[in-house]
Amino acid sequence: MTTATIIQSLASGLLMGLLYGLVAVGLALIFGLMDVTNFAHGEFLMLAMYITFFLFAFFAIDPLLAMPLVGAAMFLFGALVYLFVVRFAMRARANIGMVQIFTTFGLAILMRGLAQYFFTPDYRSINVSWLGGKTVSIGGVFLPVPQLVGAGVSLLAFGALYFFIKKTDFGRALEATREDAGAVALVGIDKNKVFALGWGLGGALVGIAGAVMAMFFYIYPDVGASFALIAYVTVALGGFGSVFGAFAGGIIVGLVEASTALILPPSLKSIGIYAVYLLVVFIRPRGLFGSM
């Protein structure tokens, strides 16, 4: 194992980590806002990847251009899921935690079934996008362009999210509702609107992530499952309640995965991620930056 190999894998790990952060941030946002874990998050990602694929297949829109479209479509989808499903799960008077877990989990299975029905279980891929298959060499380190651009998009998305939460009225309403939904109602902010906005925003973020992922991953009905667990671990590692914990969590997960792959056989590379999660929460039961 030479220094060059190590630098090479850490660099790819960092890019992958930024993408993991982008996949996870929607989950973190929704959890932070209303204490709900969306167990259909992986299926949101799957849907976004399919939208990207069909925009490409039918309208020849490159994933890079499709990004805002997919984001907008997933914003709508997220908001609708809140208004038509999750809103009712929030009303449950008995064991509300389980109701939320299993409502979103049922939704995940439903979405997977619908994807199989309408899109067939076939593996699909976007083979001739502008960036697909290209690599650049920076100081002797080879980096795939789609991942590099994806990492850049992730940085931009986190920056925009930061600006949105800190500087806009909607963002402040989001933060305020997160801190005290009851008090917010007293000053005339409609809690449901804010929650729907939160779900829309979470959907849009995972939508952008899906458009990036579609450039270099196979697209199939179960694709979400493989990323969902990594997303949960990313959010929990960063700490629930902290949107930007997901950013740090993602980078750590990406780097740990890359370093594990250097030491252990590739089939065991996820063990490193899981072990680091356990280690962190055993020492800090609220994750790295968590508030709850």
């Binding site: 009712f88 799960a89 064991n95 049922g106 079934g113 065991l268």
Partner: protein
Amino acid sequence: MNDAHTKRRRRDLIVAAVLALLAACAPLVVKDVYIQNIMVLTLMYAALSQAWNILGGYCGQISLGHALYFGLGAYTTALLFTKFGVLPWFGMLGGGVLSALIALGLGYPTFRLRGHYFVIATIVIAEIALLLFLNWDWAGAALGIDIPVRGDSWAKFQFTRSKLPYFYFALAFCCVAFLITWWLEDSKWGYWWRAVKDNPDAAESLGVVVFNSKMGAAAVSAFLTAIGGAFYAQFVSYIDPDSVMTFQFSLLMALPAVLGGIGTLWGPVLGAAILIPLTELTRSYIGGSGRGVDLILYGTVIVVIALARPEGLIGLFSRKPAPKGVPQ
């Protein structure tokens, strides 16, 4: 301890006895092997969900990693039998004890975690075990273990000609899990667990040893789950990591209890009786097309039940909602 309470507990036992008797007679009428197969699976999941319910329902520690104990039970039995010729009954017991010990070992660090941190820890631990088994050559790695047929006998717990012996074992397993829960529900453990579930801080201040209560629930739950895994290995006579240790299994154990009525004696039984036949029938009648119609139906049922009956289907049977914490 009032009179109504004693009466209700006696009624639970009588209803269970009648149902068990009816179930025991069912094979006299049902000769179809396919249906018998579904009955075996239904009983097995009822028992597994009952086991999950002890930790997840009564004690309130939501584990989505019980596939670990299921898999350990299956693997201990299959490995001891194929490698050393140890009879499955000892493997079953050994797998149960091993799982209980591992649950205690894992409980030590994980029970300090709360909420989603705990749930994710249970998922992650089971995933680590899954990956290790997938790469463990001696245990068959991804190819799994084919349990060799050595003739039908109760000693070897193998039956190739008829499913009925499996059916009666599954029924007995289900009854034992029910009785253990029935007994624990009214023991000091049952009261501790409900206290821990409702408010761990208040329970602690009232002298309930929260940590030990969780450990006790975890050990019983893991032991019973492993028995189910050992049974499953014998029943299907072939296991691999993907068929006994995946996340899907953890969910299948939790679902009947949650949809039937979490933290109730009858919830897992009711949930399994509805969910398992539905899953199996839809899978074989409309799932064969490979177009996901079974998943669409299954997902819809889960969403609808979770939203319409958040306290579980058991709520359909009680005229007034049960007060939290103490059984009536």
